[in-house]
């Protein structure tokens, strides 16, 4: 782990007597390595280590009796700071219904997390409507319907023959008529470089004016996390991140990268396949995990 490596780095050095800036550089190389191995983006790592180094050199790591611990403390604080100290709740619309649009790459967990959010919000006393706007993936509508049945939440669908923009628009009108709130719109997975499908999301957004556009991202995503998130953010204006499959052992550096570059707040963590496996985001926990 990083703390082991830093203990080793500084341990060797403290035998020599006073620490120097070069010694801190050695420690920073270990920090860099730890972050890259945790899938933190290359450029984000560079900026992050520079910020840590500045604090380390300025802040008595050099004079500390436990330099490794002091350095780890700084890294941890910086991680928490970047990840977002405050938990940001879901936005509330000017007038109902609250509309949540789920977007992201193929297989990231959008459909499952649409169900999880519906269950979570119903437990808070709301009356959710799920919307099946993925008309492409085989049995995607069935998948959402099956999840809806499990938790007894209605699913608005128009099969696979209708345009997702119309499905979403009709669903919101339906929700308003029936008093559903929130409306959670599941969409098909897509590549951020797929112009036609990105335009489809823009059209859906313009049609239903969502309260939140949630980017659903897999915790094991590597270096491309930033490029992907940036593209979705530039085109749509992402308002929140859902980090999924955190019940695995992926370190989750993608979350730091996405947050650092786009500023999008992490709103939820997915921790399993069952519909109750949804947790709020705690920056200290994610920081500890990224650090290893």
């Amino acid at each position: 782990s990083l703390s082991d490596r830093l203990n080793e780095t500084f341990g060797r050095l403290s035998k020599k007597g006073r620490l120097t800036e070069e010694d801190v550089d050695g420690a920073m190389r270990e920090v860099r390595r730890a972050l890259l191995e945790a899938d933190v983006n290359f450029k984000v790592t560079k900026d992050f280590v520079a910020a840590v180094r500045e604090r380390a050199v300025g802040q008595d790591v050099l004079r500390s009796l436990t330099p490794a611990q002091t350095a780890i403390g700084i890294v941890n604080e910086e991680l928490v700071r970047v990840l977002g100290n405050e938990r940001e709740p879901l936005r509330v619309p000017d007038r109902p219904p609250q509309i949540l649009l789920m977007v992201g790459l193929q297989g990231s967990g959008k459909t499952t997390h649409s169900g999880k959010l519906a269950l979570h919000l119903r437990k808070e006393g709301r009356n959710p409507l799920l919307v099946a706007a993925d008309v492409y993936r085989p049995a995607a509508v069935n998948q959402l319907q099956s999840l809806g049945k499990q938790i007894n939440i209605p699913v608005y669908e128009e099969g696979t023959g209708r345009n997702p923009v119309d499905i979403a628009g009709n669903a919101v009108r339906f929700a308003i008529d029936r008093g559903h709130n929130p409306v959670i719109v599941d969409t098909a997975g897509r590549l951020q470089i797929d112009e036609r499908l990105m335009q489809e999301l823009v059209d859906i957004r313009d049609r239903i004016r969502p309260t939140e556009i949630l980017l659903v991202a897999d915790a094991m995503t590597g270096q491309e996390a930033v490029g992907v998130a940036q593209a979705f953010h530039d085109r749509l204006g992402v308002t929140g991140l859902v980090l999924t499959k955190m019940d695995g052992d992926a370190r989750g550096g993608a979350a730091l990268s996405i947050r650092a570059v786009t500023g999008v707040p992490i709103k939820f963590i997915g921790t399993g396949e069952k519909l109750d496996a949804l947790e709020p985001f705690y920056p200290e926990r994610l920081a500890g995990r990224i650090l290893g």
Binding site: F42, Q192, D218, M220, Q223, E224, G248, D249
Partner: protein
């Protein structure tokens, strides 16, 4: 990257950056750059274009070291060739099975699918849709059934109907879940009872967007079920799937296929030279 006139330190730094950005990982990136540096110094290389060719060969060799381990696939008359597809959640297993079915059909083989994911919502429906589209029979039980029972049935049906290739879909599972990993071995035993050599192919699907966790996935799945081949799905995206190098180096498991889209035709055989060229050459 190599279109510069001077072979200097900046080239090595840029190289390390590009490798890491391709998810090759810190460890393997360091080794590749160090090896290149050594060759350049030893052979007194001055031209960046020559350095480029050295690195390209280095990277191809790394992958070929694993690819040459690829077991020759022998299809025996009257014995179904069983392919078991495994991997973590959402990587592209079910879609890849559709692609493999189409692939084997192009060789004139009869194909059958087994809906071994009885857990996830509409997983059976999803595979059934693919079966209909490809005119391939799908053996399925009801949602929540024992996957072992489905596999048992499929092995019998494949034998009875003289099927050349049986492809078994399994539920996505995180390698950190001990009981789910143990289930894979149980499925393998059921196959072996019917056909001694089955499953002749155990294909691990890895998502090209996966970072360093991909290596752990490969290592852990290999411990549970002897992976024979790896497929990198979603290479049509911007992620380069560089974890392939660590997997080749650490496990020696051949990467045999790549997924390049969401249609049944979006499958290609993995070729180290083509893949390395696609990175940044």
């Amino acid at each position: 990257l190599f279109d510069r006139s001077v072979l200097d330190e900046e080239l090595y730094e840029d190289l390390e950056m590009l490798l890491i950005q391709a998810d090759v990982g810190w460890d393997v990136s360091q080794k590749l750059v160090a090896e290149l540096r050594e060759r350049v110094d030893r052979d007194r290389i001055k031209d960046p274009a020559d350095a480029r060719e050295i690195l390209r060969q280095e990277m191809i060799l790394l992958l070929e070291f694993a690819t040459r381990n690829r077991k020759v696939k022998i299809l025996q008359r009257g014995v179904p060739f069983v392919i078991m597809v495994v991997g973590v959640n959402g990587v592209g297993k079910t879609t890849s099975i559709a692609k493999l079915a189409a692939y084997h059909q192009r060789f004139g083989r009869s194909v059958m699918l087994a809906a071994g994911d009885t857990f996830r919502a509409a997983a059976i429906d999803q595979l059934s849709v693919w079966g209909e589209r490809l005119k391939v029979p799908v053996i399925a039980h009801q949602q929540g059934a024992d996957p072992g029972a489905v596999v048992f049935d499929a092995m019998q049906a494949a034998h009875a109907r003289n099927i050349d290739v049986l492809i078994v879909d399994t539920a996505g599972r995180l390698h950190t879940k001990y009981n789910l990993m143990a289930e894979l071995e149980k499925l393998r035993k059921i196959m072996r009872r019917h056909v001694e050599t089955a499953p002749q192919e155990v294909l691990l699907v890895i998502d090209a967007t996966t970072g360093q966790n991909g290596l752990i996935q490969a290592q852990e799945f290999a411990k549970s079920v002897d992976i024979t081949d790896i497929m990198i799905a979603k290479l049509d995206g911007t992620a380069k799937g560089g974890i392939a190098f660590s997997v080749a180096k650490e496990l020696g498991t051949p990467i045999s296929y790549v997924g390049t889209g969401e249609k049944a035709t979006d499958l290609a055989e993995f070729r180290p030279d083509t893949y390395v060229d696609s990175l940044f050459f």
